[in-house]
Amino acid sequence: MSDRPKMMQRVAFGDTLVQLGEQNPHIVVLDADISSSLYTVHFAQRFPDRHINFGVAEQNMLIGAAGLATIGLVPLACTYATFATMRACEQIRSFICYAKLNVKIVCSHGGIEVGWDGPTHHGTEDVAMMRSMPNMHVVVPADAIATSALIRQVVDQDGPFYFRMGRNPTPLIYTKEQQFTIGKAIELCDGEDVTLVAMGVMVSVALDAVEILARQGIRARLLDMHTVKPLDGEALLEAANITPLVVTLEDHNVIGGLGSAVAEFLSGCHPMPVLRIGVPDVFTESGDPALLFQKFAMDAQSVAARVEKALRELD
């Protein structure tokens, strides 16, 4: 499949963070004992006075972030998706979102592509939870370049943000010239037969699926919906007006995430068939992410087959 070079989003985040630290003296980075994993350790070494390690205490890190934001600092609270969104769910909801505080929650380990660590460490409900909170923005970059570009905008905008990265090196989709705007989907492929809407690591899978479909004569559009909230309804509606089927792809439970967001939007203005591809509301298992993706029919071959079948069933 894809022979695109790969890079970890976390590495891009860590490098960008140091540059942001140089530019913005209000940025404070918070960790919960995994700064080496989030690559925030570079920021910590460069700006020790603006780095706080809370130890393994995510609730305290998130409520502490709220306190820091009240005095005008811009805290980035960094940990894994499961720990921030579940352990510290109330702190995020009732103190950061309700009070509309300028806290950035930056997580890696979103989805089952975490693989070997198993379901306790697979962030498969995080987007659903974060998306359901008023005032929250949800951003899911597709590769390292998108990570670097979008985290800059996240830091520049006021208000609570959830920024979700994967664990593993992901294929590079974009070049440095690509323009990103929070809230604006990127159309990666143009086609009239079906629209694929993907987030995060699934954008690369979708690109491969588009190639497979093309060989079968199916022309697919592809939207990188890097901002899940607020959703780019304009781009979605435009695509929905052209193609008879919309397919969503997410490394996340099919309940509550990107698929739900797309279905909710379309049901209100353009009711149509939506096929939601993702983790089928089960707890998965440990193992090679590639095998997990195959098991849940989230790999490119399976995606293409499911799209082709769904299109056939439409006729």
Binding site: V28, L68, A69, T70, I71, Q91, F95
Partner: protein, 279 residues
């Protein structure tokens, strides 16, 4: 320390007013939490009418001292203190908990002038205060941070996460006041989940700790002065208090944690509080 008798008389009067207004607000709303509002009133009076470096005309003044009511359910007392201090008109208190009010059922920092932190879900105020104190180190500001916690806060695990970090980081600008009335919704803490030994717990988390009578104004003022002395550690004031303090039928009664007095009960409560004022 020896205090000006005029100051003490003023603070006693303010505490009594906070109690009276709390009863009026909760009775008018038909819901609220009188027990904790009455137990914390003396500490609030000392803070808002003597100790805090604040400006009611500039509630967002960046260098103001911060106050967080972690036991947010007891906000009637705090709203009363803020109104009496001039943050908003006294008449606003009658809108407490009502539709459209700036005075929400639990504190909302986006709606109420003078509220430094949204609160309500217990166990979170201390962590927010730790964040503020850590932030002040980064910005170089000299403000102090005061957090008032209750028994419910002390039973929540995240209070201890915050306590651990504050002690470890030696946050000397942070003062926690524990409104230790030993009473919670389901009964006395001694029957539900005892917090004892309180002092030893906090000492072992590297805090400076002092226990006082939380209704004795001289002890409160002494303890606040002691707490902000520079010593390289955060300070805990264990304010031994009585839930429902000042209203005979509410004192030490768990059932008055979250129940509004009816009209007759409110009148009786106010009569008792006014009697204290005149004696």
């Amino acid at each position: 320390m020896i205090y000006d008798p005029g100051l003490l008389a003023t603070l006693h009067h303010k505490a009594n007013q906070i109690r009276q207004e709390s009863i009026r607000m909760i009775a008018a709303a038909g819901s609220g939490h009188p027990g904790g509002a009455l137990s914390e009133a003396d500490v609030l009076a000392a803070l808002y009418f003597h100790f805090l470096n604040i400006d009611p005309h500039n509630p967002q003044w960046p260098d103001r001292d911060r106050f967080i009511l972690s036991k947010g359910h007891a906000c009637a007392g705090l709203y009363a203190a803020l109104a009496l201090r001039g943050y908003f008109p006294l008449e606003t208190l009658s809108t407490f908990r009502k539709f459209g009010s700036i005075l929400q059922g639990h504190p909302d920092m986006t709606k109420t002038p003078g509220i430094d932190m949204t609160a309500g879900p217990l166990g979170n105020g201390l962590g927010a205060g730790v964040g503020m104190a850590l932030g002040a180190r980064i910005t170089g500001q000299a403000f102090r941070v005061f957090v008032l916690i209750g028994d419910g806060d002390a039973q929540e695990g995240c209070t201890w996460e915050a306590s651990m970090l504050a002690g470890f980081k030696k946050l000397s600008r942070l003062t926690c006041i524990y409104d230790y009335n030993r009473s919670q919704v389901d009964g006395p803490t001694s029957e539900i989940l005892s917090l004892d030994p309180v002092m030893e717990k906090w000492l072992s988390f590297n805090w400076a700790v002092r226990a006082i009578d939380g209704h004795d104004m001289v002890q409160i003022l002494d303890a606040l002065s002691w707490a902000v002395e520079s010593r390289g550690s955060p300070a805990l004031i264990i304010a031994n208090t009585t839930k429902g303090k000042g209203v005979s039928f509410m004192e030490d009664q768990s059932k008055w944690h979250g129940k509004a007095p009816n009209k007759e009960q409110a009148e009786q409560a106010l009569k008792e509080l006014m009697q204290v004022e005149t004696t």
